[in-house]
């Protein structure tokens, strides 16, 4: 940092904040604005958009992404990344039909434990051994997908009534899946905002060395974060399997890591760590879901939808980071 900019900010902040305000505002709230605009456009342009059925379907579809993305947001906040989430989803889902004999609660518990175990391995590799997150979770992603296939084999259907109702039932018209995603969101939000762990996580992501010297339990926080990510991914996998009443270990959760990362980044959490934006992440997931849905409503083929998504991802990140360059120099 140049001495010029450093002191300038203090000396003359009032003048500066005038110009900074807008950029920061866009960075922080761009995703909400975009979401609002797209919703509005759909209300007018898409037939039958404003119907419980449509909204319900959108929310049900986005719920697992939100759950995974929240865990991903925490990991990214520590300057990490978790590529294993999709495989963990598959593993948890693959275990369900195998242990359904223990009742739905038992099977779910086993699925969640599997997620925790994978998260623990990732956390130890990253936090204790010091392997780069991208490599550690890449290795796990490959290995765990294989394990899921070994356990699950071919597609198995899920008929246990408890699980089926978890996936398809609702409370007061709101699907369980959505309720669970909402509760998870609230809890994670509170953890980030109010808990000691949340504060420490953000500090570690911002400057690991400084955090260690300030006596923060760096290893413990890192391990915990990957465990949480694994747990949430397992949860999402189970919900997805329960909803489709089947577990397909080859397909389930594929590319989920990318969807989750996209949601987090579009939501304004920088990949460089040190910040976690929970509401932004949720909005990011909703935005991507709504974009896909909008394209489908208007009979735009998958291929074009993907191309549009690609352009939007770049555009969104550009808005968030593009002007960061000026600040850096």
């Amino acid at each position: 940092m140049s001495d010029g900019t450093a002191t300038a900010t203090v000396a003359d902040r009032s003048e500066r904040s005038g110009t900074r305000f807008d950029i920061d505002w866009v960075r922080r709230n761009g995703v909400f604005v975009a979401l609002g605009l797209l919703l509005l456009a759909n209300v007018f342009l898409t037939e039958n958009f404003v119907s419980t059925g449509t909204l319900r379907l959108q929310l049900v579809q986005v719920a697992p992404v939100v759950i995974v993305a929240l865990g991903m947001a925490l990991v990214i906040g520590t300057e990490g990344i978790d590529l294993s989430v999709g495989a963990v989803m598959a593993l948890a889902a693959a275990l369900i039909p195998l242990y359904v004999g223990y009742g739905s609660v038992g099977a779910i518990a086993i699925g969640l434990v599997a997620g925790v175990v994978v998260g623990l391995i990732a956390g130890v590799l990253v936090g204790v051994v010091g392997v780069q997150p991208i490599v550690a979770t890449l290795g796990l992603m490959v290995a765990i997908r294989g394990v899921a296939n070994l356990f699950g084999g071919e597609i198995k259907s899920i008929r246990e009534p408890g699980l089926v109702s978890l996936g398809t039932g609702d409370v007061a018209g709101v699907p369980y899946v959505v309720v669970i995603a909402a509760v998870v969101s609230l809890v994670v939000w509170l953890v980030v905002r109010r808990s000691t762990y949340g504060r420490q996580l953000v500090a570690i992501g911002g400057n690991k060395l400084a955090a260690r010297l300030a006596g923060l339990p760096v290893r413990r926080v890192l391990v915990t974060t990957y465990v949480v990510s694994g747990l949430l991914a397992a949860m999402a996998g189970i919900l997805l399997a329960a909803r489709s009443q089947a577990s397909d270990p080859t397909k389930l959760g594929q590319l989920m890591e990318l969807s989750a990362i996209t949601a987090v980044v579009i939501g304004g959490t920088p990949l460089s760590g040190g910040q976690v934006r929970i509401l932004g992440t949720i909005a990011g997931a909703l935005l991507m879901q709504l974009i896909t849905a909008t394209l489908i409503f208007h009979d735009i083929p998958d291929s074009t939808a993907q191309i549009v998504q690609a352009v939007i991802v770049i555009g969104a990140v550009y808005v968030q980071l593009g002007r960061g360059k000026a600040r850096r120099s």
Partner: protein, 531 residues
């Protein structure tokens, strides 16, 4: 890729003629004026120093001269002709080389590759590694430095790396060499080599710009000085016509009398002493670094740790703090044994360390002032894992007032503060842990003169309140005036202990230089091993 090793200046420049000039250069960042019409003139065959407080515009001016920034207004002239540098490479092509404070080379590449990066000697279109290494060896011999040019740069010590940067500058036949705090990480034998080379370049008609926080060096090396203050030109003149007091007064924009009355540092006289030792270190050993260091600090006492680079000053405080693994040795605080090798153990025992590298080991740049201050005491500010905002607010408020931290609000990001205020935030962070022993590693390095005085005053105040302080500083004045007692380290063990009440800077210097012969030998070896 082009080879541009022999980029000749537009016109021949005779010794004494201006080679690099700025005329009315302005530069602002987001509405803040960092340079307000600065005139600067560097002549061929002189060493010119650029002086000013942090924020005076020194670095900005240097970045304009080297093409990192393009000026908003005014012009840059090279060899009498107006030039427009858009990138650092533009400046390099015409013959302006820069050596930065933090070595800007590539650690994973060899010394020779670093010297010739972008201008490698080639044969049949491919890099001629043999010729490259040979020429690198010749250059090093010319500089009088014994370094294996095929070694990975990152395995050399900082001093050696700085020499490589210099060799790189020499290899391009530069007309201008700009050195931005090149000596801040050098050991004094290396400083001597650097100065020798710099004078050699000057005698060959090269114009050199030299920036250093160590004022003594300016009179030793430089011919002329330009002083900047608040982005404006204040003075240019021969170094010999300047007294130290003059210089400081001009930098600060204060009267000479005022400066004289306050003394060179902000330290008062001696502090309360006596009582049981607050910190007792015995036989501290760290593999290859420390060989049995003993240290005693009483409550209210400021103990200075002196020593040349590589003597183990920073290692001592880091090992005491548990950030560096000790092989053996015992640390007790107020009679209680401290678990070594654990930062958290040390913190719990009441030890705090303000580390030397503020940026890398101190601040969390994107967090607010508030969160940075509360960082080390989060568990204490929480109940059942939930943070109490009210308690943190109270804590932060107290310290921002007590340390006079200048920030727009507690929520301002720390990265936006000046170096001095960042340092105060860190001091607040450690004071919040209510330490018994405060280890300060170069607390005033790289902060402006005003903040420096405040930090010095604060150290005094803390000692008066009964804190045991260990102070590391490369500035003699600071140690002599600030410390009650000075422990001189040499090669990882205590060489001397001096009572500083009637000590002069020159006596301390003598103690430091005590064993000159063996010292420079061992430290050269140490540099070779430094990774």
């Amino acid at each position: 890729m082009t080879q541009h090793s022999s980029a000749a200046p537009a016109a021949a420049v005779g010794v004494g003629d201006p080679v690099l000039q700025t005329v009315g250069v302005t530069k602002s960042f987001g509405g803040v004026h960092a340079l307000k019409g600065v005139d600067f003139e560097l002549r061929a065959g002189e060493i010119h120093t650029l002086v000013g407080e942090n924020g005076a515009g020194k670095s900005t001016l240097i970045k304009v001269l080297t093409g990192v920034y393009t000026p908003d207004g005014g012009e840059v002239r090279y060899a009498g002709e107006t030039v427009h540098f858009r990138r650092p490479s533009d400046a390099q092509h015409v013959g302006i080389s820069t050596i930065y404070q933090e070595v800007n080379l590539v650690p994973l590449l060899s010394v020779a590759r670093n010297i010739f990066l972008g201008r490698e000697p080639r044969r049949f279109g491919l890099i001629d590694v043999g010729a490259m290494n040979r020429r690198a060896r010749e250059l090093m011999a010319e500089l009088g430095i014994d370094i294996d040019v095929t070694a990975e740069l990152g395995r050399l010590g900082l001093g050696a790396q700085q020499m490589v940067a210099l060799a790189r500058a020499m290899s391009v036949d530069s007309r201008v060499v700009i050195m931005d705090e090149p000596t801040s990480s050098l050991e004094s034998a290396e400083v001597d080599t650097l100065f020798r080379v710099a004078r050699g370049l000057r005698d060959r008609g090269v114009g050199l710009v030299f920036v250093s926080h160590r004022l003594d060096e300016l009179w030793e090396l430089c011919d002329r000085v330009t002083i900047l203050r608040d982005g404006e030109w204040v003075h240019t003149g021969p170094m010999t016509e300047m007294t130290r007091l003059d210089l400081v007064a001009k930098m600060l924009g204060r009267d000479i009398e005022e400066v004289r009355a306050e003394g060179a540092t902000e330290f008062g006289s001696s502090h309360l002493q006596g009582g049981e030792p607050a910190l007792l270190v015995s036989g501290l050993e760290v593999a290859n670094r420390l060989h049995g260091v003993d240290l005693t600090v009483r409550p209210g006492e400021v103990v200075g740790l002196a020593g040349l680079l590589g003597s183990g000053r920073s290692e001592t405080v880091k090992a005491v703090y548990g950030a560096l693994k000790a092989r053996s040795g015992e640390v007790t605080v107020a009679g209680r044994k401290v678990r070594t090798g654990s930062v958290r153990g040390a913190l719990a025992s009441g030890i705090a360390l303000l580390s030397e590298d503020r940026k890398a080991e101190g601040i969390v740049p994107d967090l607010s002032v508030r969160d940075n201050i509360a960082l080390a005491v989060l568990p204490r500010m929480s109940r059942a894992g939930v943070v109490s905002e009210a308690r943190i607010d109270a804590l932060v408020d107290t310290f921002m007032k007590r340390l006079r931290i200048k920030a727009s609000s507690p929520d301002q990001k720390v990265r936006e503060l000046s170096g001095g205020n960042q340092q105060k935030v860190l001091i607040a962070r450690w004071l919040a842990t209510e330490p018994t022993v405060f280890l300060l590693d170069e607390p005033t390095r790289g902060i402006d003169v005003g903040a420096k005085a405040e930090v010095q005053g604060l150290i005094d105040e803390l000692a008066e309140q009964g804190l045991a302080v260990v102070l590391i500083s490369s500035e003699m004045d600071e140690l002599v005036e600030g410390a009650d007692r000075i422990v001189v380290l040499h090669d990882g063990h205590v060489q001397a202990e001096l009572d500083s009440t009637d000590l002069s800077s020159s006596e301390l210097l003598a103690a430091l230089a005590g064993d000159r012969e063996t010292d420079s030998q061992t430290s050269t070896q140490a540099e070779g091993q430094h990774a």
